[in-house]
């Protein structure tokens, strides 16, 4: 086909007259991949230094251990460090292997057939491998569709007459995380696009003679304040885990939050250094969890119990059970247990199920209580 996209090399940005840099941050271009992590993440607040908020931290670590759980929604009060936690997640993630030069970060072991770059590589030769950080891509408010889905690289089209696709945030987030702060303020048509891509794992672009699809599988992380508006049920359902955060009420934790925040503000790199050891330990835990995940056994009894719990709560569909079981397994892996048991189900049930309860929007506040009550009914106190 004539309209086929030729080449995906990152466009040459020199000689650009615009004041703004284009495509600077989300993923360092292949040539610059060895360079440090992009600017906004460089000095992120250490994950391990977050005071309390155990449920949120656990959910994020579980998502890092098993991305197939389907992401995390963090809802709660203003100023509780929701976005801080998500942004610091990147530091806990291991590096991943990608095909060198592939704009969609294909896995060298199994490059996708649909990837135009990798399928064009000479057959029989092993693709060159490169280690890159797992992307954690921000979807800022006000993002337009062309930057989310990707579009024709107009500079190159004009300068060289080449139809090159300029991948968007969805491509950048492939095999990584896509983070939406204030997710309940996201424009409707972007939500539609996200839902579509999240369901199919593929982004389809039809624009300016470009006809292209590329894989876009990512873990969706959303955060927001419920007082600013409700989340569309379809989007709510996409999230594997949903956690509620609130401002700590006890003086000691509050003082600790303020002190750490102050120390970080005063000297970010010193603070990060101070927490480096804890951070390394947390990272180790996640890595070990990932390794262990495959060998964690899931007894039939546990699955039955999960099903019983979901039935007791009347959750819609099978997604609840699936998520519950997977999250429990990831939790077991994270904590070094080799078998998933009731104890894991119990601890993750609220996160996995509270947003799946049959919709009574006015009961939002007591969703957690309902799950806890069902837990007692099913498993005993």
């Amino acid at each position: 086909m004539d309209g086929a996209v030729s080449g995906f090399q990152p466009a040459n940005r020199s000689g650009q007259e615009t004041q703004l840099s284009r495509r600077a941050a989300p993923r360092p271009s292949a040539k610059k991949a060895d360079k440090a992590i992009p600017a906004p993440r460089r000095n992120a607040y250490p994950f391990s230094a977050i005071v309390g908020q155990e449920e949120m931290k656990r959910a994020l670590m579980i998502a890092a251990v098993d991305p197939s759980i389907g992401g995390v929604l963090v809802f709660g009060d203003r100023g509780t460090g929701k976005s801080t936690a998500v942004r610091s997640l990147a530091a806990l993630l291991p590096e991943m292997a990608v095909v060198a030069g592939c704009p969609f970060a294909c896995d060298p072991v199994a490059p996708l057939a649909s990837c135009t770059h990798c399928s064009a590589l000479p057959k029989g030769r092993k693709a060159e491998k490169r280690m890159v950080p797992v992307p954690v891509v921000d979807l800022p408010l006000g993002t337009t569709e062309d930057r989310l889905a990707g579009a024709l690289d107009i500079e190159r089209a004009l300068a060289q007459g080449i139809k090159a696709f300029e991948p968007g945030l969805l491509a950048a987030a492939h095999r990584g995380f896509l983070y939406i702060d204030e997710v309940n303020l996201l424009e409707d048509h972007l939500v539609d696009l996200l839902l579509d891509v999240a369901a199919s794992g593929e982004n389809v672009v039809e624009r300016e003679g470009i006809s292209l699809r590329h894989p876009a599988r990512f873990v969706l992380i959303g955060s927001g304040n419920p007082e600013e508006g409700e989340l569309r049920p379809q989007l709510l359902d996409r999230f594997g885990l949903s956690v509620e955060v609130s401002t700590p009420k006890d003086l000691a934790s509050r003082v600790e939050v303020v002190c750490r925040r102050d120390a970080y503000d005063r000297d970010a790199s010193g603070f990060i250094k101070q927490w480096a050891e804890d951070e390394a330990r947390t990272r180790e835990t996640v890595l070990a969890g990932r390794k262990r995940l495959g060998s964690v056994t899931l007894p039939l009894g546990t699955i039955e119990q999960a099903a019983k719990l979901c039935m007791a709560l009347g959750t819609d569909g099978l997604r609840g059970e699936l998520t519950l079981v997977r999250a429990a397994r990831a939790l077991a892996a994270l904590e070094g247990d080799l078998e998933v048991g009731t104890v894991h189900l119990r601890r993750i049930a609220a996160s996995a199920l509270r947003h799946r309860l049959r919709r009574n929007p006015l009961d939002e506040t007591v969703a957690t209580t309902r799950v806890e009550k069902a837990l007692e009914d099913v498993f005993g106190p």
Binding site: T18, Q19, L20, S21, R22, A24, A25, P26, P38, A39, P40, D77, R78, G79, T80, S83, R87, D138, L139, P140, L141, G142, T143, T144, E145, D146, R147, A151, I154, E155, A157, L158, G161, E182, E187, H189, R207, E208, N225, P226, E227, E228, G229, E230, T247, K249, L251, R254, V255, V258, C259, R261, D262, D265, R266, R359, N360, P361, L362, T365
Partner: protein, 603 residues
């Protein structure tokens, strides 16, 4: 009560600073650390004194720092940056334009009429404040850069209901009502630019007493301030104050000042008397005061009130007068509510003023409204390219199908359901609880349709708006649950209030649906006096307004036996009449769904 006496004596020791000084101090502190303190909410009408304050701030800031106004209804392209339509069209290739937020880096952003700024704009500004960085992914432009600025929100709202959303005010350190003070033209002790500059350099080296964070946190809790930003701001404020005074160590005066400027205006409750203080007679504290005066060395802390007490006392000394008057046992309850919900935030979010809801790509067909500028914007960068592709095409502007953007009007699809609840004694006797139950079920339906809901109750002598139109059903439920019953039935006033709100929401482009739940026993006239005949005829008059303006309405008769007057009332309103003699909440809800809401949302 001896504890209270002790604290008030404590409070007397620290005098409330005079307003004029406070205003200047805030300006100076903000000039020292605009990024750390994030800004100020200036509340009050447009006024020369406000301009003077702004001028004073500007004079203290380093020369030439950015100073940008964010107009109401600003478009994303201007706020965040994006494609410069005009130059892109003439150049034939994309030319980026920097956004206002990026331009303001290192300076100050002014938000006029901040109480009316759309929540979308607030959220974008808040994101920059939170992360000290601006991230833009728009119209082919990617930008990620450190951006820090201070925000001066000019809150011109009148009354409780109109104020800057908490999503913004919580993120700004200071609140300043400038009504009561006037700046003199030449304030002698206004810091000079050089002094501010020196303070800025000193700021990074200012140390704090080890127990200061604890003191601020404890005081914040005692004052019912839940947000953790308050103690963090207080710390920064104390540091800035020390730097401004030429010190490299925060003193007790700095701490007290921070408590007064940051904690007091956020207070939600009057602190309970600390138990430890109860044994301390006030005289002893007088002694301490003298001691403190004679040796201000902070190492003598055993002899002085602890930093914690000092901070709390300082904050207490400048609690807003209204707070003390209006707060009792209800204070804590209020605090809980207010802490979790930005009252006006919800309202702002619901306004349709200023910004169109946006444009979205869609296949062109008749009946859709073209968003011309958006379409041009999409097409602009491609012009040169398309001309090359089709050199023989003589079109001035090449527009392709995929460029087409259509206007989206949220207003058309958005319904505001206004619940008009009779909470009078007669209704309460009958089935107020049941009516509440029905409303709750209806709220569930509203949730599915993403309607806005509002609640007005009438009882006693008049009607009261319990909840302005909002998407937050949780709040709707809360306001209903707290609704007491009793008193007469000022039906006319209730009808009038419902009509006023319906008209207001229609002006905002929404479709109002009024659901009135009443037993029709009108017995209070509009001027608050009794008399069934007058009350009924006035109620009918008010009801006719609905019919005259064609507002969809539904009247649910909650009386045990259907009453002819209620039927008359419904027909005067042009409302569907649903008598529900012995219905339960679920049946009532089903009837409403059938009778009123379905056709209304279709139209």
């Amino acid at each position: 009560m001896s504890g209270l006496a002790a604290t008030s004596a404590d409070a007397k020791r620290i005098e409330a600073p005079d307003a004029e000084n406070v205003a200047l101090q805030i300006a100076a502190l903000l000039a020292v650390d605009p990024a750390g303190l994030a800004g100020v909410v200036l509340r009050g009408p447009a006024d020369p004194r406000r301009d003077e304050w702004l001028e004073a701030l500007r004079k203290m800031l380093p020369a030439g720092v950015p100073w940008r106004r964010v107009p109401l209804g600003i478009a994303d392209t201007r706020l965040l940056g994006g494609l410069d339509l005009t130059s892109s069209l003439s150049a034939g290739r994309p030319i980026a334009q920097q956004g206002l937020l990026a331009e303001a880096d290192g300076g100050i952003i002014i938000l006029p009429m901040a109480e009316r700024v759309e929540s979308q704009v607030i959220a974008r500004i808040a994101a920059v404040l939170d992360h000290g960085a601006l991230r833009v992914e728009r119209e082919g432009i990617t930008l990620a850069r450190d951006t820090r600025f201070g925000v001066v929100a000019l809150d011109e709202g009148a009354g409780e209901d109109e104020q800057v959303t908490e999503a913004l005010s919580d993120r700004l350190a200071f609140r300043l009502g400038f009504e009561p003070f006037g700046l003199q033209r030449a304030v002698p002790d206004m810091p000079t630019r050089a002094e501010i500059e020196a303070a800025r350099l000193r700021l990074a080296h200012v140390g704090i007493p080890a127990d200061l964070p604890q003191a601020f946190c404890a005081a914040a809790l005692a004052l019912g301030i839940l947000s953790l930003r308050a103690p963090i701001f207080a710390l920064r404020c104390a540091r800035a104050a020390a730097a401004l005074a030429g010190r490299v160590e925060v003193t007790r005066e700095d701490a007290a000042l921070a408590a007064q400027l940051i904690l007091a205006p956020r207070a939600r409750q009057v602190p309970e008397a600390p138990t430890e203080e109860q044994e301390q007679p006030p005289e002893q504290q007088q002694d301490e005061k003298q001691e403190e005066a004679s040796n201000s060395d902070t190492q003598q802390q055993q002899d002085q009130p602890s930093l914690e007490d000092l901070v709390l006392a300082a904050a207490q000394a400048s609690l807003p007068a209204g707070l003390l008057a209006g707060l009792g046992v209800a204070a804590r309850q209020m605090a809980r509510q207010a802490a979790s919900s930005g009252r006006s935030g919800m309202m702002r979010r619901s306004t349709q003023r200023g910004r169109p809801i946006g444009a979205r790509p869609a296949a062109w067909r008749a009946g859709l409204r073209l968003a011309l500028v958006e379409t041009l914007r999409v097409a602009a960068p491609w012009q040169e390219y398309r001309r090359r592709e089709k050199p023989h095409h003589a079109a001035l502007v090449h527009i392709r199908r995929e460029d087409v953007r259509i206007r989206r009007y949220k207003q058309n699809s958005e319904t505001t359901t206004i619940f008009l609840v009779d909470a009078s004694g007669s209704a309460a006797l009958h089935r107020l609880a049941e009516a509440k139950g029905a409303v709750e079920l209806l709220l569930g339906d509203c949730y599915v349709r993403r309607d806005r809901v509002a609640v007005i109750a009438f009882r006693g002598r008049g009607a009261e708006v319990l909840l302005e139109p909002t998407h937050s059903l949780v709040r709707a439920k809360r306001s209903l649950a707290a609704l007491p019953g009793g008193g007469g039935t000022p039906l006319a006033a209730g009808m009038a209030a419902g009509f006023a709100m319906a008209e207001a929401s229609r002006r905002r482009g929404q479709t109002p649906v009024v659901v009135a739940l009443t037993d029709g026993r009108a017995n209070v006239t509009r001027d608050g006096s009794g008399g069934r005949a007058t009350a009924e005829s006035e109620a009918l008059d008010s009801a006719r307004l609905f019919r005259a303006s064609g507002i969809a309405a539904l009247l649910i008769d909650t009386a045990p036996r259907p009453h002819p007057f209620s039927r008359d009332l419904a027909s005067a309103m042009g409302a569907r009449y649903v008598p529900l003699p012995f219905a339960d909440a679920a049946r009532m809800s089903a009837a409403v769904r059938q009778a009123a809401l379905a056709p209304a949302s279709e139209s």
